[in-house]
Symmetry: C2
Subunit: 302 residues, 2 copies
């Protein structure tokens, strides 16, 4: 792991944001990670850990770009299944990173079906999950280790929850480093399966893919491997409504000069949704990624 | 200087941008510096070097915010003269950083006149220039020292030129560190007094304040102290037209996830204006600041 190309996270002391919220906030931005999100940590770890020379995965977003680039760095082949309705910039980005794109018309065939077809067409390929995989958690644990290296330790880390791979990784990395910093998840209210799971003490799924603007958190449920860690490891999940997600994107733009995608702003959204919960604490807010279309971004800013 | 609160610059290896341009580009972003631009380096150095407890300056932009915050950190008083037409967010920012704002209606009185009035009203105050001051150059030299610390050295550093305080500081810092990295300025074509000065070998001024979108470079001429350094120290000045400035802002957004103000994008604008000049070299591109109104930013993105 000494030769990992993973970039260290970018710490930004957010003074104006801290004064506005009334809490001492440091951002840990993964927006400058390779391919623009934390997903590269997991993708690279998966791609270099499995023996296969060809990796197949379904992703319309950051995991696809991350896996394409990780495979390119390792001289492997990647095939990324994307809905035919994906934004052209996202398709272009995967191709630019060296991935082969397989578009699927999700009105006639699900992504999972297309992945299964391709898996039988390429039996030598490894089929990677974007979150429900021990290798994914292990890759993301590198961020937890980095957070444990900051002294004095943060009181609490707040990070977005979609499939749960990021928070499970952070918890793993912190704990193995002996660091007791608490971890709180930030989840869209529209996609609150993690919050409900924590309340009910069992893995709960959304009925449909939730249509939150935080597209990285449009998961139906947590991964089982992630839930096993989050069930006892997460202190809480803060549910963030759509207005607070957009307000968080604007605050990051105006008060910290940081471009964040909506999913990346969930942590800040949690801080402004429940300021009392964080008052007087030293908070690290993970901004998980920055990839967002200019048109979506400007709609949020204006 | 060991206790300087100046934040180190944020280096971002810009892989997609590099591939697009055909040059190996690393960004040195000052957008996460205190108050969002490199100006804090100079403002803090001025404020802690002079004995005065009250500092007076005219600035509608980044220097005013920087000086207000530097004075607050040092327990000093600051008065910032701003045109009454300044965007409200800029006035608010100066006040939030602790500065007293004096608005001046520039149709009836120039900023310089108002500064002179205030200077006689507050004879104990130090009147600070935003660029034509040895202390400003010295403050900005800290960035040159940081660039000299990166090994192997960059072949060339490209940085915006307005009054010339930034490039003069970078050259000073590099040279005193024994570093031979070349320095190239990036200037709006609409405000090309530095390029003309270099061609003519003498300090040339624009007739009026140029109306470039790069508002940090709307200076009538270089400062005399800066010119003394730039005349021999700058390899060249690349003139960037308005379309390339805006394209550079878009490329930073789309390819590097970096929010830049138009002035901050001048270096990238220089790279895309004259790609042949930089081909095959290891270039450090200084992004001098990130403070830009959402509405201006979205006009550029769309």
């Amino acid at each position: 792991l000494n030769h990992t190309p993973v970039r260290p996270t970018t710490f930004i002391a957010a003074r104006r944001l801290s004064e506005r919220i009334g809490t001492d906030v440091v951002l840990a931005s993964e927006t400058f990670q390779h391919t623009g999100s934390f997903k590269f940590r997991a993708a690279y770890h998966v791609a270099c850990s499995v023996g296969h020379d060809h990796i197949l995965t379904a992703s319309s977003g950051n995991f696809g770009q991350a896996m394409a680039y990780a495979c390119r760095l390792l001289g492997k082949r990647s095939t990324i299944v994307m809905p035919s309705t994906s934004a052209q910039v996202k398709v272009d980005a995967v191709r630019e990173y060296g991935g082969a794109v397989e578009l699927v018309d999700v009105r006639t065939k699900s992504r999972a079906e297309r992945v299964a077809e391709l898996a039988s067409q390429y039996p030598e390929a490894y089929v990677a999950s974007a979150y429900d995989d021990d290798l994914v958690i292990e890759g993301n644990a590198s961020l937890g280790e980095e957070l444990a290296d900051v002294e004095p330790w943060f009181d609490v880390v707040v990070a977005p929850v979609g499939g749960g791979g990021l928070t499970a990784g952070i918890i793993s990395g912190l704990r193995r480093s002996g660091c007791t910093t608490r971890v709180i998840g930030a989840e869209p209210l529209l996609a609150n399966d993690a919050a409900r799971s924590l309340r009910e003490g069992r893995l709960v799924a959304n009925e449909l893919e939730p249509q939150t603007i935080a597209d990285g958190a449009r998961t139906v449920s947590l991964g089982e491997r992630n839930w096993a860690i989050l069930n006892s490891g997460l202190e809480a999940v803060v549910e963030v409504d759509e207005d607070h997600i957009m307000e968080a994107v604007r605050m990051l733009f105006c008060l910290t000069n940081l471009k964040s995608e909506p999913t990346g702003a969930l942590g800040v959204g949690a801080l402004i949704s429940q300021p009392q919960r964080f008052k007087g604490q030293r908070v690290c807010c993970v901004v998980s990624g920055g990839n967002v279309d200019p048109s979506v971004y400007c709609d949020i800013l204006s």
